[in-house]
């Protein structure tokens, strides 16, 4: 089978020639997936050249239909010959057939978008901002009093609830008892009642806790930040040229300018260009008195470094807090970054298999919940910049996605 794709005004046309059967179904589905990854969510199949359509082939059409409708896109078979029409309608799949070619809703989509949003470009990436809640704002509090890499004491830890009303990142463990928690303290990130947590036991994949019914996940946090409030802005971004992507500080510049604030809280879901980060590989609860856990080479037992840019092409959930106000005051849980003097940043990334987001204006809770419902998290990283000359891995970058953000106020509880 031969597939020719052509970009029409507001949809993508895939011309199929030959047999759509078991041998070719997967090829067809992956062509559709690749198009969806590029943000093409309205697809028409030109079936005039189809010489054969088996049940496996039909199933692949249905799959394309299901995946596209799940991102508010559309899918239809056009120019179907009699035998295709007969095969589809006899099997009860005539909903896949369309007479008119252009997807009406696509046009509507685009118009709605241009009315509500502002857009601009940064380094070959188009950014669109949507105002989601006029007075959206985040109140950020520190949770836990542990200072890396001191020995962790029980009284440093704070029990926190991670419900739908908050976003949070830090180091902790979901255990009631200190004895259990102290051996497993690891990095976590939470948004929309969904918490991913990488046990600090050398585990590869995060565990996760999702708010369900009356169950609200709780964590014993050694350190971290937790915020309540609502997001004021949504940023959507996608590359204008092949290979373009946004480095994290560039995305944050967009956050600062659209929120009109130099302090911000954000959640993003984006396809990774590459991530650079570290994770706790051993619980800080096990640091003994007088031990210097942050000294090389021993630190490699406690912390794992990604070693290369990782997770290209995967879908990443970011939860983060940033302060570019340049105030000299140090803020616990907000370390400085090397690339931007005066900037302080703490971001955790939860990595999932790629799954496209709907285009246009979308909402955080829904998207995060769907991410956790569709697949298990693969990895968790505390993002860092690696600005070493020549060897440095650089900054994490993102190809396309959505970022919800709001101005933030930081409140610090006194620590010892």
């Amino acid at each position: 089978m031969n597939i020719t794709s052509s970009h029409k005004n507001n949809y993508l046309e895939l011309k199929l020639e030959g047999r759509l059967d078991a041998a070719w179904a997967e090829h067809f589905v992956s062509t559709v997936s690749a198009a969806m990854r590029e943000g093409r969510h309205h697809i028409r199949v030109d079936a005039l050249g189809l010489s054969y359509l088996s049940s496996a082939g039909m199933r692949s059409l249905l799959r394309a239909h299901r995946e596209l409708t799940s991102v508010n896109g559309s899918f239809a078979v056009i120019r179907a010959s009699d035998f295709v029409v007969n095969t589809l309608s006899m099997s009860g799949f005539d909903t896949l057939l369309a007479l008119d070619e252009a997807p009406a809703e696509a046009v509507a989509d685009e118009e709605a978008t241009s009315a509500k949003s502002k857009s601009w470009s940064v380094n070959g990436v188009r950014i669109e901002s949507y105002s989601q809640q006029e007075d959206g704002h985040m109140e950020v509090h520190t949770t836990g009093k542990w200072t890396p890499w001191q020995p962790l004491r029980e009284e440093d830890c704070a029990k926190i609830a991670l419900g739908r009303d908050c976003i949070a990142i830090g180091s902790g463990a979901p255990a009631d008892e200190w004895q259990n928690a102290r051996e497993q303290m690891g990095d976590y990130a939470s948004a929309a009642g969904c918490t991913a947590w990488l046990p600090g036991t050398g585990a590869d994949a995060p565990d996760y806790l999702v708010q369900e019914g009356r169950y609200v996940p709780e964590l014993l946090a050694a350190s971290g930040l937790r915020a309540v409030g609502s997001f004021s802005q949504l940023l959507r971004f996608s590359p204008e040229n092949d290979g373009a992507s946004l480095e994290l500080p560039r995305l944050l510049e967009a956050v600062f300018s659209s929120t009109g604030s130099t302090k911000a809280a954000f959640v993003a879901i984006a396809e990774a260009g590459g991530l650079v980060g570290v994770t706790l590989s051993r619980s800080p609860g096990l640091i003994s008195e007088g031990e210097h856990a942050d000294e090389f080479p021993g630190v490699r037992d406690w912390m794992s470094f990604c070693g290369e840019r990782v997770h290209h092409g995967r879908q990443v959930l970011l939860v983060g807090f940033a302060d570019a106000s340049g105030s000299g005051q140090s803020q616990p849980g907000l370390p400085a970054i090397p690339s931007r003097p005066g900037w302080k940043l703490h971001v955790h990334a939860v990595v999932f298999p790629f799954r496209p987001l709907p285009n246009g204006e979308i909402f955080m809770s829904e998207c995060v919940e769907q991410l956790f419902a569709a697949a298990e998290p693969i990895a968790m990283l505390h993002l860092v910049e690696d600005e070493r000359p020549t060897l440095g891995l650089g900054k994490s970058s993102f190809i396309r996605g959505a970022c919800w953000c709001a101005p933030a106020s930081f409140h610090t509880e006194n620590r010892k």
Binding site: T147, P148, G202, D204, V278, D294, F296, P297, V299, R300, M303, S304, F305, C306, G307, E308, G333, P335, A336, I337, P338, H382, V384, E385, D386, E387, R388, L391, G392
Partner: protein
């Protein structure tokens, strides 16, 4: 059954070609334990097997087999207790000799002098009996030259010969690596069958994560002359290929985590 205690081996010490191939490895295999050794190229897997087989004497450390300290035994003396199969299907057998002759020769190797074994009718019958379960049709070809067989067939026979007299320990060094995928899978299955049936203690070096997950009860991972992972029991039961890939990834990342990385990232984790 096998106990390796803190064995160290440095090749060409004090020269520019110095290689610290074994930097103090220890492991203990209970009787009937089948363990795989995995690890990056040059991590010391083959050297570990060679140390056990006695190809060289270690610089320090001890090796115990079946309760006896064999650390200072020469290779030939250990050979009576140890069966070995190498990567090359053409090693270990004589191409111009027949299957039957090769088998008789290998049986003699383990026996005390004078107890020679003739290739009589009874022996030929036994050979056929034991080759039949290979399902390769070789039982009807025992007078054919070894050289006329395929790599997979030769490797299956070599494995059979190495275990014919139920050695105390079986050492396999990438013994399926030179075979085509189908033959490799066949020999791998045969390996598991023989080891389980004969309740052999075995160490198998492999680069196939699939084999490491499917065949043995235990997986030992080596890196830079050291044992870095020892996966057994319930942990082995839930270990999959992806977990082993992750383990390789962990060692690699650790190597890349140097002083300059520490200086970069530690201030950003606060």
């Amino acid at each position: 059954m096998l106990e390796i205690n803190n064995v160290v081996k440095t090749f060409n010490p004090g020269t520019p070609n110095e290689v610290r191939a074994l930097r103090g490895i220890s492991m203990k295999l209970e009787e009937g334990c089948f363990a795989a050794i995995i690890g990056t190229n040059g991590s010391g897997k083959s050297t570990s097997l060679n140390a056990v087989a006695g190809s060289f004497l270690p610089d320090s450390g001890t090796i115990l087999l079946d309760g006896q300290d064999i650390s200072n035994w020469p290779e030939y003396r250990r050979a009576s207790m140890i069966g070995r199969v190498f990567q090359n299907p053409f090693a270990g057998t004589a191409a111009e000799m027949s299957i039957a002759e090769n088998i008789v020769l290998s049986m003699r190797r383990g026996m005390s002098r004078g107890l020679g074994m003739a290739l009589n009718r009874r022996v030929r019958e036994e050979i056929r009996e034991r080759i039949r379960p290979l399902n390769m049709g070789l039982e009807n070809r025992i007078d054919n030259a070894m050289g006329s067989l395929s790599g997979g067939q030769r490797q299956a026979l070599t494995l059979l010969m190495a275990t014919w007299l139920r050695p105390k320990l079986l050492l396999l060094d990438e013994h399926t690596a030179a075979l085509d995928p189908k033959s490799a899978a066949q020999v791998a299955t045969l390996t598991k069958e023989i080891i389980e049936r004969e309740k052999l203690t075995a160490l198998m070096v492999t680069h196939s994560m699939q084999q490491a997950v499917q065949l043995p009860q235990r997986i030992i991972m080596m890196h830079k002359g050291q044992v870095v992972e020892d996966i057994h029991g319930v942990r082995k039961a839930r270990t999959q290929v992806a977990d082993l890939m992750n383990a390789f990834d962990r060692v690699r990342r650790r190597d890349l985590f140097d002083q300059s990385v520490a200086e970069q990232v530690l201030p950003q984790y606060a």
